[in-house]
Subunit: 300 residues, 2 copies
C-alpha cells in the first residue's frame, strides 16, 4: 500500500476517501481538514483565545495538540469529576501533554469546588441517568470557566462517530429541537454563553486515533465505567456496520445533514423559553435556578 | 399470556404497544388500524374503486383480504414479470385468493404484452440494477392499468418495515426529493397519474404475517431470487436490532417523520421537471419518452 501523494509506504488507508497515505501526508491532511472545518464554520481565528475541554482521551488531546501546532491560542480545561479509577489517570495524561506542549491548563475539581464528586451526586439523584448528569455538569463548568476566564469559545473533541451516533438517535425520534442544534459550531446566544466548536466533527475516531498515535500522544484508553451499554455505543456499532458495507456513509450522513439543517431547520422555533440569569450563580438558564445549582439545593 | 381485551388466551404479543391479544381482538385491531390509516390520510372511501397491486406475498394478499372484508371496492392486479421459479407460483396464490374472495383480478404479463420478461430486459441492460428496473416497470404498469380501467387509486402492501428501511436509506443521504415523497399516501399530480396508497404502512411485517396466517391466506413465502444482499434487507436487519433494544422505535421513526415531513418538507421544490405526456404511450413523464417506453426502443 503506497501513499497516494508521494508513493512512499502508506501507514493508513482511509476507505471512505479511497485514500492511502504515509505518515507525513496523513498528518498534513489531518491538519488541513481541521483548518477547513474551522474556516468553513467560522469557529475562531488565531488571535482569539479558545478553551479546549480535555478529558484525557484521544479525541480531546489530539484536538489540543493539533490546535496548538497550528498556532491557535489554546487554554486546556480538565474537569475532574472524581470518578474512581478514572479521573486521576485521565488527569495525569492531560497534565503530561499540556506540559509537553507548554499549554496553560485549568483544572476544575467538582469535589473540591462544589463538595461532591459525580458518583456522589448521582447517588443522591437515582432518578437521573448518570450520563445525563455528567453531560449537564460538564456543559455548565466548561461555559462557566470560559466566562470566568473571559474566553468566548469552548472547543470539544467530538468526532464524526460521536456526531453521527447522536444524529441517528435524534433522527430516529425526529427531535427537531435537538436536530436544529446539531452543528459543528453553535454561536453564542447570550453574553454569558460561550460559542461551542467541534473542530474534529468531520474526522472519524479511527483517523483521530491514528493522529494521536503518530503524534506520540499518550492518552487514557479506558472507556468510562458508566458508559457500558450506552445507546450511543450501540448506534456507533450500527453505523460502523453500515460504513463497512458502504464506506463514506457516516461522512455523507453528517455532511448532507448540515446542508439540510441550514436549508430546512434554520430559525425554527424549538419551543425553548428565553434565557435569563440563574438567581444563584448568575449564569444563563431558562429557569429561575439553573440545573447545575439545583443539584446543590438542599430541598432537591 | 392473556388477551388484554377479554382475558382469553393471547395468540400474539405486540411489544411495541406492550399488548397481548387473542385471535379475535388481534384481527379486530388490525382492521381498525387499517381503517384509521385510510381515514387519517384520506386515501379512499367505500364508494371508490381501488386497484390493489398483489405480488402473491403476505403483505399484498393481506391488504386485498382486509380491504375486501371491510367492504372496499377492490380489483386485484397481478403483474407477471416472468421470473422463473417465482412468477408462476406467486400467480397461483393470487388467483386462489381472488377466487376465494370473489374479487376481480387483472393479470398483466410483461412477456405476453411487451414481448420480454424482466430477466430478459435486465440482460439487455447490464448497466441497470434489476431491482431498479423492476420497480420502475411495476410503477408504470400499476399506473397504466389503473388508468386503462378508469381507477384513480392504486394501493400497495408496503408495511412498516419496508417504509422505515427506505426512510433510513433516504435519511442517511438526506435525499430531500425522496424524503418529501415518503408518505403513506401520495395524491395524484396529473390526470393520468393514479394516487398511491399504502394502507398497511403503520403495521409491521410480523403483524401482517400473523393476520395472513390467522386469515388462512396461503401466500408465496420465497423471497425474490434477485433480492439477495439487497440494501433494504440490510437496513431492515439493523432496524430490527434497534427495535429489539427499544421496542416501538420503528413506529415512532415513521410516525414522527410524517409530522416532520408535513411541517418542514411541505411544498419543497424537489427540482423535478414538470410532467408531460410520453410521445409513445401518452403516459406522464418528465422526459420526451418515458422510462418504460425507452426500455423497448431499438437504439437503447
Amino acid at each position: 500500500m503506497k501513499c497516494k501523494v508521494c508513493g512512499e509506504k502508506a501507514v493508513i488507508k482511509l476507505r471512505q476517501h479511497n485514500l492511502a497515505l504515509c505518515e507525513e501526508h496523513f498528518i498534513e491532511r489531518f491538519r488541513r481538514e481541521v483548518e477547513r472545518t474551522l474556516k468553513k464554520y467560522e469557529m475562531f481565528d488565531r488571535g482569539q483565545p479558545v478553551l479546549v475541554a480535555v478529558s484525557g482521551g484521544k479525541d480531546s488531546l489530539s484536538l489540543l495538540h493539533v490546535l496548538k501546532s497550528l498556532d491557535y491560542k489554546v487554554t486546556g480545561l480538565f474537569i475532574d469529576l472524581g470518578i474512581e479509577g478514572m479521573s486521576e489517570k485521565a488527569r495525569a495524561k492531560v497534565e503530561e501533554l499540556a506540559a509537553r506542549l507548554d499549554v496553560e491548563l485549568v483544572v476544575v475539581s467538582l469535589k473540591d469546588k462544589y463538595g461532591e464528586s459525580l458518583p456522589e451526586i448521582a447517588k443522591r439523584r437515582p432518578q437521573h441517568r448518570i450520563c445525563s448528569l455528567c453531560g449537564m455538569i460538564k456543559r455548565y463548568l466548561m461555559n462557566k470557566t470560559a466566562y470566568d476566564l473571559g474566553i468566548k469559545v469552548v472547543a470539544t473533541g467530538h468526532n464524526l462517530d460521536d456526531e453521527v451516533s447522536s444524529l441517528l438517535s435524534n433522527t430516529l425520534r425526529w427531535d427537531v429541537s435537538y436536530l436544529a442544534k446539531q452543528s459543528p459550531y453553535l454561536p453564542s446566544v447570550h453574553p454569558k454563553l460561550a460559542a461551542r466548536a467541534k473542530p474534529l466533527a468531520f474526522l472519524t475516531e479511527r483517523e483521530i486515533a491514528a493522529y494521536a498515535i503518530l503524534s506520540e500522544i499518550d492518552f487514557h484508553r479506558e472507556a468510562c465505567p458508566f458508559s457500558r451499554g450506552a445507546k450511543t455505543l450501540f448506534y456507533k456499532h450500527l453505523l460502523n456496520e453500515i460504513e463497512v458495507r458502504s464506506p463514506g456513509t457516516k461522512l455523507r450522513f453528517y455532511r448532507e445533514f448540515q446542508s439540510f439543517r441550514k436549508r430546512y431547520l434554520r430559525d425554527i422555533d424549538t419551543g425553548m423559553p428565553p434565557l435569563r440569569e440563574c438567581k444563584i450563580c448568575g449564569m444563563p438558564t431558562s429557569l429561575e435556578v439553573c440545573a447545575f445549582c439545583r443539584l446543590f439545593q438542599r430541598d432537591n
